[in-house]
Amino acid sequence: MQLEQMYQEIILDHYRKPHRHGLREPFDAESFQVNPTCGDEVTLRVRLTGTDTDAVVDDVSYSGQGCSISQASVSVLTDLVVGKPLREALTTEAAFSELMHGRGKIEPDEDVLEDGVAFAGVAKYPMRVKCALLGWMAFKDAVSRVVVEAS
């Protein structure tokens, strides 16, 4: 049974007890993302400190509704990026996105992705990849809004 490969315990844990859940103030930008095929939604806020190359992700808060994959993924995201330099967070985002588009053929780097490696099994299910990426798209979009506004 391949189900266990997809629904790793880590994912189910994050789904049941999501980290940093809820929308918080203050924040620099917010992004709303929706998966039009299934209706999953996430609203995500980022708070950055510092500027340009010194920028650090101070907080990520979110709310939404969706399947275990989309909800767990955004919870893992906050673990991976909060407190990290923005540049590092974006590298992590790229690595996660690459993993998800790899059709299960990419070996994830646990040093970079930590709990995110649990999503390696999801990459084998192309119709679920969008679920796993929903929160990450919101993060990328929100960050780009901060940067645009700042410039």
């Binding site: 049974m1 391949q2 189900l3 997809m6 629904y7 189910l12 095929t37 299934c38 209706g39 999953d40 939604e41 509704q65 969706g66 399947c67 275990s68 994959i69 989309s70 299910y125 679920r128 679920c131």
Partner: protein, 429 residues
């Protein structure tokens, strides 16, 4: 699980029917038997339909209505012959049947013809819309029968109104006369909901609409494939359905329009084969149905749909409806009996087709669908292109099982078992 003996007709020989569908022999994931319960999205195709299309392509393929050689003659005969049989299948005449790429195009065709009426001659008068005019839909529409009307209203300044849906998943017709009024120019509604399974009372809506002179568009995507439907008897002005939901090819749908309406209606998509005279400055247009079939059409697909209609007719739409009725009855009973499972839509089989949507407490539909898929049970999860309806029912998404003539009772059992498995897997049972 027990089946009651068939009431009105001899039961289907489902094993024989299944043998006609090559895909039903395949397996899913790690060797699970395919339990295809997603015919509401698209149906599978019997060998007879595949063969009809291939035989056409290997013997008579040519551009229809364009040229006089023997292949063009044979191709045109096959295409127009299919139109005749499809028309008969829904109780109308061949020249009232327009081939479209899908039902969605059919709805858009009427919606655009109505906005095009603004720049057309006097004969198109009755299709004109403007501020103060109203278009009426329902809260249970598929996006295909909602968004085109929203867009029409944006283009013309008309106002969109709608019938609500009750908690039981029925249309709220408590104020028909207040919703459909003298301002109403068009009423568009679904014959059968693709989520709830609800079959809507056409008579009441059609008679009120006609009382105020409004046109009626029926979305018959979920009814025509599953039971006998006669558009003339229903008295609707327009109706749409799709080939791929009724054993036919993708890429072909049907718009029915009452003869005198089609004759007065401005064109939608323009180009070759829909014209009468073309000058650089302006053109005039052919009579229906050609006026609405611009370009080289979905020729082999129409032929395939003709074969699908033959197949369905040979089995009998009454018997198919009866068969689905039985599967639905069992599915509703067995699913309702599971703790934590809630049916979205009518829980009995009255005025209801073979589409059963439900939610499982504590298991998101997407996750439930994954477990079902792992068991070979192919259902659809999400909002099924009926987002406002889901919002109305207070849920983001549902799991939907939809039945067809090739489904067996033990597939309903497989569905029920898989739902219990999903509950176990996510620790909610």
């Amino acid at each position: 699980m027990t089946v009651e003996p068939p009431r009105t007709s001899t039961p289907l020989d489902v094993a024989a029917i299944r043998a006609d569908f090559p895909i039903l022999g395949r397996t899913i994931r790690d060797g699970q038997r395919l339990v295809y319960l997603d015919s509401g999205a698209t149906s599978q195709r019997p060998r007879q339909v595949l063969d009809a299309e291939r035989s056409f392509l290997e013997h008579s393929n040519a551009a229809v209505h364009r040229g006089a050689h023997q292949l063009a003659e044979e191709a045109t005969d096959a295409y127009e012959g299919a139109r005749e049989r499809i028309a008969r299948f829904v109780g109308v005449d061949a020249d009232e049947v327009v081939f479209t790429k899908n039902a969605t195009e059919g709805v858009n065709l009427v919606a655009y013809a109505m906005s095009n009426a603004a720049t057309s001659g006097a004969e198109a008068e009755r299709f004109r819309l403007g501020p103060g005019d109203e278009v009426v839909v329902t809260e249970m529409e598929h996006h295909a029968n909602l968004v085109p009307w929203q867009q029409l209203c944006e283009r013309t300044g008309a106002t969109l109104r709608w019938f609500g849906v009750t908690d039981e998943g029925r249309l709220d017709l408590s104020d028909v006369d207040g919703v459909i009024t003298e301002r109403t120019k068009l009423v568009a509604f679904t014959h059968q909901s693709n989520v709830l399974g609800t079959v809507n009372p056409t008579e009441q809506i059609v008679s009120r609409a006609h009382q105020v002179g409004a046109l009626v568009v029926l979305d018959a995507c979920q009814s025509v494939p599953h039971k006998p439907v006669d558009f003339k008897a229903l008295g609707v002005d327009f109706a749409v359905f799709s080939g791929h939901k009724m054993l036919g090819p993708s890429g072909v749908g049907v718009l029915y329009g009452r003869r005198e309406l089609l004759a007065a209606m401005p064109p939608f998509i323009s180009g070759g084969s829909m014209i009468e005279l073309v000058h650089m400055e302006r053109s005039t247009f052919a009579a229906p149905p050609q006026r609405f079939e611009a370009g080289v059409p979905m020729t082999s697909q129409a032929v395939g749909l003709g074969a699908a209609v033959d197949y369905l007719t040979a089995i009998g739409m009454d018997r198919i409806a009866e068969h689905e009725h039985q599967l639905t009855e069992v599915a509703l009973r067995e699913l309702s009996a599971i703790d934590g499972v809630r049916i979205i839509g009518p829980t009995n089989t009255e005025h209801r087709g073979g589409t059963v949507s439900f939610v499982i407490d504590g298991v998101h539909p997407h996750d439930a669908g994954q477990v079902l898929d792992d068991k070979g049970v192919e259902v659809r999860v999400g909002h099924h292109c009926a987002w406002p309806l889901h919002r109305r029912m207070g849920i983001p998404a549902t799991v939907r099982a939809s039945f067809y003539l090739y489904n067996e009772l033990d597939e309903v059992k497989a569905l029920v078992d898989a739902v219990r498995e999903a509950q176990r897997f996510f620790g909610v049972a």
